[in-house]
């Protein structure tokens, strides 16, 4: 650890040492055997040693082994022994042929080994990249996809830790990480184009060519730089991480766009409602007020009263629309929590029917299940729902027919129903009537102005209670609107005192 140069040189030195040791060992063994028996072609045995050294330690060590074997052969086994001179010229040829053969075979063997190593390394890279690609393609969850990429990057590069870092105006943010992280934040460059401080042991690989999306940061163990071959694979993994980040960003943009689109649709609908539904009562108020101004012909008191009553009715209608728009926006913002309390059912119903005048009230038949007692609701909100439903039923049915308001106990819930003998639901899915700004076909410009918000508000309020609202076609004509509110809150409420 303390002396990196020794460590980097050691493979070569070890190769040379191994070559020397192997040749010496073989020589000692051969010398011992030679004293008893003559060994034919003992140079072939040296060739085996050279091949073995080439396989284990590479080209340099193989050449060294060949030369050492040549010298050992000459010194110990070629007459005159223990001299480098050679008496028989044929021996010279044999020795030289051995040297050349040993060198060439050693080189070829070492080359083969290197190729095999390279192939194995590539195979590992390919497997890692394939896994990273698969994870990126199949895993839409950003952190899970990045975790796989980071893990593979560590394995391939030998890094002890890795992180994906993104930069914004405030500086670097670690998006995902694996392995050793201690002090990572201190070392990260403040800006993507800044250099990493030397000695940090960090390798920063940009995630994409275009714009500085972020970087893959590898924490390398001291004294072990990334090999060139591994670098290719790491670049490729960084690219994958870049794809994941880009995709995540696009998905966020898309979600925001969708929300904005929906908000925009509501706003457009609201504007068209303001321009139409709000204007007609405003027009009637203005016209009536104008008629009340003193003119050439004095108005008789009955006409005056009629005009003033018209103004009052228009104001009430406008006020109701404003309430509904406010209610809807508050419900959509999730800012209208019901205050659920046990309430006698007749109080809820009484409150719901209060806004109706005597003529309308005489058309409403109330049918409460005996012994129903209390319901667990926000009195004001549920009364609002029932008022809206009864108002719709009255508005869309003949004045000669009656509207029924029923309350009874269901399975684990309280059920309210409003039934009429009116126009009935339009063709198509029955649930469409609960969409904000929906209005029945042909009602758009009709003499029965609706706001298109009442039922949307009802659904919002009922759902805030954890209940459901539904519409169905009534047998024999007309509509039944059904509200189910859970009774399960009873226990919670009592527990709270």
């Amino acid at each position: 650890m303390s002396s990196p140069p020794t460590r980097t040189a050691s493979p070569r030195l070890r190769g040379l040492a191994a070559a020397g040791a192997s040749v010496a060992l073989l020589t000692v063994v051969l010398a011992a055997v030679e004293s008893a028996h003559h060994v034919a072609n003992l140079s072939m045995l040296y060739l085996l040693v050279v091949i073995a050294i080439a396989v284990r330690h590479g080209r340099g060590a193989a050449v060294a082994a060949a030369v050492l074997a040549f010298l050992a052969c000459d010194w110990f086994f070629v007459a005159p022994r223990f001299r480098f001179t050679v008496s028989d010229p044929a021996e010279w040829v044999a020795l030289l042929v051995f040297l050349v053969t040993a060198t060439v075979v050693g080189q070829l063997t070492a080359l083969l080994r290197a190729r095999a190593d390279e192939a194995r390394q590539r195979e590992r890279e390919a497997a890692a990249l394939a896994e990273a690609s698969w994870s990126v393609a199949s895993q839409f969850e950003r952190d899970a996809a990045l975790a796989v990429v980071l893990q593979r990057a560590c394995e391939l590069s030998g890094a002890v830790g890795a992180a994906v870092v993104a930069w914004d105006a405030a500086g670097p943010t670690v998006v995902a990480h694996t392995g050793a992280q201690a002090g990572l934040a201190d070392w990260l460059p403040r800006r993507p184009d800044e250099a990493v401080p030397a000695g940090a042991g960090l390798l920063v690989v940009a995630l994409g060519a275009e714009e500085h999306v972020g970087a893959l940061v590898l924490r390398m163990p001291a004294g072990r730089p990334l090999e060139a071959a591994a670098r290719r694979a790491v670049d490729s993994l960084a690219h994958h991480a870049g794809v994941v980040l880009q995709r995540d960003r696009l998905m966020q943009v898309e979600a925001r766009t969708r929300a904005l689109h929906e908000a925009d649709r509501l706003k457009t609908a609201l504007l068209s409602m303001v321009s139409h539904d709000f204007r007609s009562p405003l027009a009637s108020i203005k016209a009536s007020a104008g008629s009340l101004l003193p003119g050439s012909q004095p108005l008789d008191p009955a006409t005056q009263t009629e005009l003033v009553q018209g103004i009052t009715a228009s104001v009430d209608r406008l006020n109701r629309m404003v309430e509904n728009v406010l209610a809807l926006s508050r419900l959509e913002a999730g800012a209208w929590r019901p205050q659920i309390e046990p309430t006698p059912v007749d109080e809820v119903v009484g409150l719901a029917l209060e806004p109706f005048g005597p003529a309308d009230n005489s058309r409403v038949r109330v049918d409460l299940e005996p012994g129903l007692g209390e319901v667990w609701v926000d009195t004001v909100q549920v009364a609002e729902v029932l008022t809206n439903l009864v108002a719709n039923a009255l508005r869309y049915s003949s004045p000669r027919t009656s509207v029924e308001l029923r309350a009874r106990r269901g399975h684990g819930c309280d059920v309210f129903e409003v039934a009429d003998r009116g126009l009935g639901l339009p063709p198509g899915p029955v649930d469409q009537v609960f969409a904000p700004f929906w209005r029945g076909p042909g009602l758009g410009e009709s003499a029965r102005p609706g706001v298109g918000l009442g039922l949307a508000v009802c659904r919002g309020l009922v759902e805030a209670h954890g209940g459901t609202i539904s519409a169905r076609r009534r047998q024999g004509g007309g509509t039944v609107m059904r509200v189910e509110l859970p009774r399960s809150r009873r226990d919670e409420g009592l527990g709270g005192g």
């Binding site: 009052t312 104001v315 406010l326 007749d346 009484g350 409150l351 009195t379 004001v380």
Partner: protein
């Protein structure tokens, strides 16, 4: 009869002034909370119509300040959904409230009710009541329907007595509870609702469409006598 109208919106002050003057009231105006206290000190009106949401000292604060030294009837103007301030004003001693937008008829009716109560002074026993065919004589503690005796529990009778003493005027849950049960029960609105429901079943011709015992949602109850 002098009325102080406190509202920061000139068109509302103006409309109320015109309406009240046509019915014989004399009107003084104030445009915010601070101004209201000054004008009140100068003119000593017999009724105050007080907006809640105002700059420079809101209606609640004016209400608290006035109640520190005056029993003048106060009628609070509020917008819907501002329940908390409405209830706070009533519990502070405001006499009743009106929700904007309101009609002049409603305003006149409420004013008459609070004035009637102010004139009646410290009556402890309400006048005998006739609610449809139900007659209640508080002094004799007798309740009859079409001449036949009707049994009310002591608590039901007490609730009805409180409401009758403040006929046409809203009483908050807290006010009713502390008067009938005592201060320590002031939070138990549920109990009150159950007793009112039982009371309705006995005296209302159609309990699901109460004519006399009216619910003021989230606030309290009001006894309506239909004499308007």
């Amino acid at each position: 009869m002098k009325v102080l109208v406190v509202d920061d919106e000139p068109p509302i002050r103006r409309a109320v002034r015109v309406g009240l003057e046509r019915h014989g009231y004399q009107v003084v105006e104030a445009f915010d909370g601070e101004n209201a206290l000054d004008v009140f000190a100068e003119h000593s009106p017999q009724v105050v119509i007080l907006d809640l949401a105002m700059p420079r000292r809101d209606g609640l604060s004016v209400c608290r300040e006035l109640r520190a030294w005056s029993q003048v009837p106060i009628l609070v103007l509020s917008v819907r959904d501002d329940d908390r301030n409405k209830i706070a004003a009533l519990d502070l001693g405001a006499d009743d409230y009106l929700t904007k937008p309101f009609s002049l008829d409603e305003l006149l009716a409420r004013m008459r009710a609070v004035l009637r109560r102010a004139e009646a002074g410290q009556a402890t026993e309400p006048e005998p009541l006739a609610l449809g065919d139900v007659t209640i004589d508080f002094a004799r503690r007798s309740v009859t329907r079409a001449g036949a005796p009707l049994h009310l529990t002591p608590l039901e009778f007490e609730i009805l007595r409180c409401l009758a003493l403040n006929a046409e005027r809203v009483l908050t849950h807290r006010q009713l509870l502390s008067r009938v049960w005592g201060d320590e029960y002031a939070e138990d609105a549920h109990t009150l609702r159950v007793h009112v429901s039982n009371l309705r079943a006995k005296i209302e011709p159609e309990p699901a469409r109460p004519r006399y015992l009216r619910t003021e949602p989230r606030v309290g109850y009001r006894l309506r006598l239909e004499r308007e």
